[in-house]
């Protein structure tokens, strides 16, 4: 697929625009300036156009079965494949000019990496929407089993057009939009000016020594007031244009957002990729009963956050609405926060007293060197505010361990409640500064792959008693492990039961208990095949999976081959592996569910596995016993005979483990299994994310 042709002049002009400023100065410099600037500008414009034409011709993207392939580059060429499964979010944005000429920028984010992994600039808006939908559809198609659940049994063409129904979760009301504007105060300008003026105050007062202190103060107050007003108007304008028409909806297993007045943003976030939720408010919002919510994924690398990282942030809504929305995304219960020990308030008191003392010191120094009339002890009044401040700081700290989530709360002026599912915890950090050790407290941070560490909102339980902190650390660790186990079980189930997931989950456990006999399993396979509408997809994916993981499961592959060839007439998709043994076709049980055979093999893992050469990639003729969906008894013996292998037995065994676990999740290749020769085509962009 090609870019939109309009992107050529647009990109060229974009490149040249930086030159315009230079040209302006050149043009004004002397008599020859204008023609010189025009000539140079023309030359550069032509060069840019030529380059962009080449870029346009070279740029090509394609949606394959399980990757998005982008090949680009004029001078150095790059081919990039992004597996759909690894895509964290898809963002589409259009500035005013882009909207006028009908183009849109598409950004695909995967976890990690310092920049956007897939950046397609620019395509037509319709194509952008199609890309987004298509990526989502193929992604859910490639995570086994889920496609049928979300999209019913519609065939490929149908799904393409319709997609899952959208359910609106949140739409900003005009009142809320006005509030967003009113409450977003851009402090950066003030910070900058304060920073600049802090250096210039002594200088200025040196210039106007005769001005009275009152006049100075009055000017300062007016200046500060004006500054606040300007910042406020700026902040309001930016927020208004950013969040105009904000809408968040759920479609299948992804969240979609849309917003923006001048620059339109839209995009999607798969719910399964959500890392943390952050609910934040400030005293003003708390009084009015409002809060804001941001949804973080691992897609945005730290520091990359152009406009505040998470683009699907709900700027403002009534608190209960925010919590309802948050519960939609991650269903945590009703939190009851436990606070740090009360004595820790003294720590904050000391801290603030020191801060006030420093302020007084600075004021005294200024007074000493510059204007001896000012009351330098003025800042000491702040001491009165110290006890309440310490109390408030303590009051707004806390953490809560929910069933599946850790919630932490911090900050008074900008209070953030961070929701971290245990399953998303990356590392648990317990840190104690030298001062904290004096108070016998510690801080526990649950780090996630979200992008929030820069804005300082990673989930932290600050200043808790040592015992409690250690307990919390251990608890997080344990709960992460149990969450992983749960997740793994659920995932494996998806892998095994291809047909009707719900039925399988229901019927699974009790049937498994009395063992699955051969005929049953064979029947099951057939039924699963007949029942699932997405079989061809799954089959394809499995083959790819197997290739990725380096340890394909020959037997299963063959069966999938069967499945596909049997199915291809109605699915229209072509199977890429031929049926190896047609009489191997499993029969269908009455309930239509394929069940795993839990009988262990008598294979000796110290012996190398038999491998067969399929021409394309080498496969293990004898798959490991853990994830074979429908294994027949006879196979155990036959595979033991094989000993032809390129690798040592031990190496194989460890790889086997990778293989069996990787294949079960549909395509995660682990970098560490790279010694396997079959792995050669396994790793692709963004694989380890």
């Amino acid at each position: 697929m090609k870019l939109a042709p309009q992107s050529v002049p647009y990109r060229a002009l974009q490149k040249v625009s930086g030159f315009v400023v230079v040209a302006f100065f050149v043009a004004n410099s002397n008599d020859w300036g204008l023609p010189a600037a025009a000539a140079a500008g023309g030359a550069i414009l032509i060069a840019a156009l030529a380059y962009e034409t080449a870029y346009y011709r070279r740029f090509d993207y394609e949606l394959t079965a399980d990757t998005l392939d982008i090949s680009s580059g004029v001078i150095s060429r790059r081919e990039r494949e992004i597996p759909y499964r690894r895509i964290q979010n898809v963002d589409v944005s259009q500035s005013v000019i882009q909207r006028a000429i009908g183009i849109a920028a598409v950004d695909l984010e995967t976890a990690g990496g310092s920049s956007t992994e897939g950046s397609i600039r620019f395509v037509k808006p319709a194509e952008a929407t199609r890309l987004r939908r298509e990526v989502q559809r193929r992604k859910s198609g490639s995570s086994a089993g889920e496609a049928s659940a979300t999209e019913g049994s519609a065939d490929g063409a149908d799904r393409d057009a319709v997609g899952p129904a959208e359910e609106e979760l949140f739409a900003i009301s005009p009142g809320e939009l006005a509030l967003v504007g009113a409450l977003s105060f851009d402090g950066r300008l003030i910070g900058l000016l304060v920073f600049l003026s802090s250096g210039s105050v002594p200088v200025l007062s040196g210039f106007i020594p005769e001005a009275s202190a009152t006049a100075l103060t009055a000017t300062a107050i007016v200046a500060v007031g004006g500054l606040f007003l300007v910042s406020w108007i700026l902040g309001a304008g930016v927020a208004f244009s950013n969040y105009y028409g904000f809408r968040l909806s759920r479609a299948g297993d992804e969240l979609r957002y849309e917003r923006g007045l001048f620059r339109r943003y839209s995009g999607s976030i798969p719910t399964e990729k959500v890392q943390t939720l952050t609910v934040s408010d400030n005293p003003a919002k708390r009084v009015l009963g409002y809060a804001s919510l941001s949804i973080e994924t691992a897609g945005y690398a730290p520091g990359q956050s152009g406009d505040g990282g998470s683009q699907a942030a709900v700027p403002i809504a009534t608190t209960d609405r925010v919590y309802r929305l948050a519960h939609e995304v991650e269903s945590f219960g009703t939190p009851t926060f436990s606070r740090p020990p009360k004595r820790i308030r003294w720590r904050y008191v000391f801290r603030y007293v020191i801060a006030v003392a420093v302020l007084v010191g600075v004021a005294f120094a200024v007074d000493w060197f510059v204007t001896p009339d000012l009351p330098w002890y003025g800042p000491a009044v702040l001491l009165l505010a110290v006890p309440p401040a310490a109390h408030l700081k303590w009051k707004h700290r806390g953490y809560w361990l929910g069933d599946d989530h850790l919630l932490t709360r911090n900050g008074f002026w900008s209070r953030t409640v961070t929701v971290v599912p245990y399953y998303r915890i990356q590392t648990v950090i317990d840190s104690r500064t030298i001062f904290q050790r004096r108070w016998n407290v510690a801080t526990i941070v649950a780090d996630t792959a979200g992008s929030s560490s820069f804005s300082g909102t990673s989930a932290a339980a600050v200043d808790f008693e040592l015992d409690e902190a250690i307990e919390l650390r251990e608890a997080l660790q344990e709960r992460l492990q149990s969450a992983l186990t749960t997740q793994r079980n659920r995932r494996d189930r998806f892998e095994w039961f291809e047909g009707d997931v719900d039925e399988a989950v229901e019927a699974g456990p009790d049937d498994d208990a009395d063992g699955v006999d051969v005929a049953d399993a064979e029947e099951a396979a057939g039924a699963g095949r007949a029942g699932a509408g997405n079989d061809a997809d799954t089959g394809d994916d499995d083959a790819a999976t197997a290739r990725d993981a380096g340890i394909p499961d020959a037997d299963r592959d063959a069966e999938r081959g069967d499945t596909q060839s049997g199915d291809s007439s109605d699915s229209g998709s072509d199977a890429d592996s031929d049926p190896v043994d047609a009489e191997d076709e499993p029969a269908i049980p009455d309930d239509g569910v394929v069940r795993p055979d839990f009988s262990t093999t008598d294979r000796d893992y110290s012996e190398p596995a038999e491998r067969i050469d399929t021409g394309e990639y080498a496969v293990d003729r004898f798959p490991s016993d853990a994830d074979v969906a429908h294994q027949r008894g006879g196979r155990n013996g036959e595979a033991d005979e094989g000993t032809s292998d390129e690798e040592t037995g031990e190496e194989r065994t460890s790889d086997e483990e990778t293989g069996e676990e990787r294949t079960s999740d549909g395509g995660t290749s682990n970098q560490e299994s790279a010694e396997d020769p079959a792995e050669s085509d396994g790793g692709s962009a963004g694989d380890e994310k």
């Binding site: 780090d447 560490s453 990673s458 990787r662 560490e672």
Partner: protein, 154 residues
């Protein structure tokens, strides 16, 4: 596996680093002496104080540092001024490097860096290993990470 401490020679690396820091720190004082504003002993005193602090820090750091591979996590305990205990679940390991900087090569040491997808503790470095120890640790962590099945390491 019980808690492991680092190789004693790592102190040499850290002390060398402290020497460099002290040298850099004393430069402005040396400049001050050069233009005649500071007495002769100022750069030495400044450098000496920083060096002493650096050496004490290095020794304490060495005493404090320990790591341990537990059943399902890598556990690190370190830090002098701020004590940090990091738990890296084996499932979350993205990849593992063993690396040897020039100074480390000089004293015959190596280190091992464990990467996760996290934003804060994204890479955890275990210094002060013997070269063999570093590659053994890397292999061990790799094995454990594979066994732990990091399907979705994010």
């Amino acid at each position: 596996m019980t808690a492991q401490s680092l190789h004693p020679r790592i102190r040499i690396v850290w002390i060398l680093r402290a020497v460099i820091v002290a040298a850099v720190f004393s430069l402005p004082f040396a400049g001050g002496f050069y233009i005649g504003r500071l007495p002769m002993w100022a750069p030495f005193a400044a450098g000496g104080v920083v060096l002493a602090l650096g050496v004490v820090h290095a020794v304490l750091k060495y005493r404090r540092w320990s790591y341990e591979i537990r059943e399902d996590a890598l556990y690190l305990d370190r830090g002098v001024v701020t004590q940090v205990r990091t738990t890296v679940p084996l499932v979350r390991i993205q990849h593992v490097d063993s690396r040897r900087g020039p100074v480390e090569r000089g004293v015959g040491l190596a280190s091992c860096v464990v990467y996760t997808a996290g934003s804060r503790g994204a890479d955890v470095r275990i210094p002060g290993l013997t070269p063999d120890g570093a590659s053994d640790l890397r292999e061990e962590l790799k094995r454990l990470a594979i066994r732990a099945d990091g399907e979705d390491a994010v």
